[in-house]
Symmetry: C2
Subunit: 248 residues, 2 copies
């Protein structure tokens, strides 16, 4: 079962699950055809490192399925996750030679890759790609700034609640519609990875999850399967106002 995920790779952009959300979202048929010529798929197993910080970037690309993390490290070993890459998210920076962060697949993952040079050349003559990439980058910047508030000012309990609400919300946007009733999802991260995301230790993560469970904010089956009976309650615990979000 090692290569379970490797077999089910899409071949046609038409079938692609991220066709309308990835960097290619705005492309016309002819542009897509051009992209199709320089693209190739790569599969990664859970735990596998996609790119090491400082390595030469031979390609950029989109996450098609699965989840990856962007992590920054200090020399003494402390690490901070700085991005969580979900299906349709873009990996790599056009114009940059070397990777700035470690990219690690936390689940089995499939990427749609483009060799960097041809992609950069295509970007110059294809405004639809550059426009979409700008839009995605601005969204990522907003997410990063939201996360700075979490890291800088929230308590451990609020941090956990914030992460859960983000995962829940995103999961809901994939399993789309269905805003009613309890939300149910699986945590795609280990306690350690959550700690890494939140600037905490894994022990604190574990304790706070236990506390939220004890207080009925979440229901756990096993260690990863989460049910949120009342999403507004979770939002309150996260320190976010339950009425309207920050962004449109």
């Amino acid at each position: 079962m090692l290569n379970e995920s490797v077999k089910a790779v899409p071949r046609e952009c038409g079938d692609c699950p991220i066709r309308h959300r990835a960097v290619c979202a705005r492309c016309e048929a002819d542009e897509l055809e051009h992209l199709d010529k320089i693209k190739y798929y790569r599969s990664f197993e859970a735990g596998q490192t996609v790119i090491w910080a400082g390595d030469k970037m031979e390609f950029v690309g989109s996450v098609v399925s699965g989840i990856a993390t962007l992590t920054q490290a200090m020399e003494d070993g402390r690490t901070q996750m700085v991005g969580l890459l979900l299906p349709s998210d873009f990996v790599g920076r056009p114009g940059r030679e070397t990777a700035a962060y470690d990219v690690v697949a936390t689940t089995d993952m499939v990427m749609c890759c483009f060799r960097r040079k041809p992609f950069e050349e295509m970007m110059v003559v294809t405004p639809h790609i550059a426009q979409r990439l700008l839009e995605m980058t601005l969204d990522e910047l907003d997410a990063a700034r939201e996360w700075m508030l979490v890291l800088g000012r929230k308590t451990a309990r609020e941090k956990i609640a914030s992460l859960l609400s983000i995962i829940a919300r995103r999961d809901a946007s994939l399993t789309f519609g269905k805003t009613t009733g309890p939300m149910v999802f699986d945590l795609p991260l280990t306690r350690e990875a959550m700690a890494d995301y939140l600037g905490l230790t894994l022990e604190t993560v574990s304790r706070q999850i236990s506390a939220l469970r004890k207080d009925g904010v979440i229901v756990l089956e096993g260690k990863r399967h989460v049910t949120v009976p009342d999403f507004n309650r979770l939002m309150e615990e996260a320190g976010d106002d339950s009425d309207g979000g920050l962004l449109a």
Copy 2:
């Protein structure tokens, strides 16, 4: 002296101090001429709020001189600075109706503003602007991620050292050349604003600055004027490797 800064507003793009680093950096003469028609200058006094989060964004623009901050707030009053805007930095997000963050001038400041709609229209037909904005946004994203490491994993002392090294480095890039000898600059932020940037309290900021002074890492004249006798030492205190930086 209230309006000291208001008088010295540039009028011509040719004289503009940020001409080659702002969002207009790549524009040709004719594009610049077009931009010139929709631009206007605004001055702000130190302490003045430029935009409130949630307000309608009538304009976008570039910081010409002075410094502004981007701040995010929770309902209970906790705040986190999420951006420090220096000359040439861009304010606002094309395509977004309302401001996501508070923007406050921390020094007297001049902005080169464009009404949002005409600017957005111009962006569509002027790849040079969109390209430059993408580049700038990617840089900001990198800076935000760097800051996530600071917020999530560094100690109070390391946080202060990190902020000082960032300010010192930036100041050096303006007072350009001159990599030798001690670095000298003025802190553009109050202790409170530094605390806000670093996810600390102002008391902790004050104590750590005192400690760095006592240990000879920095020399203070008054409360704002800083001399860094040995920049590598400061980098070590920041937890960054003194040899090469992370980014090219």
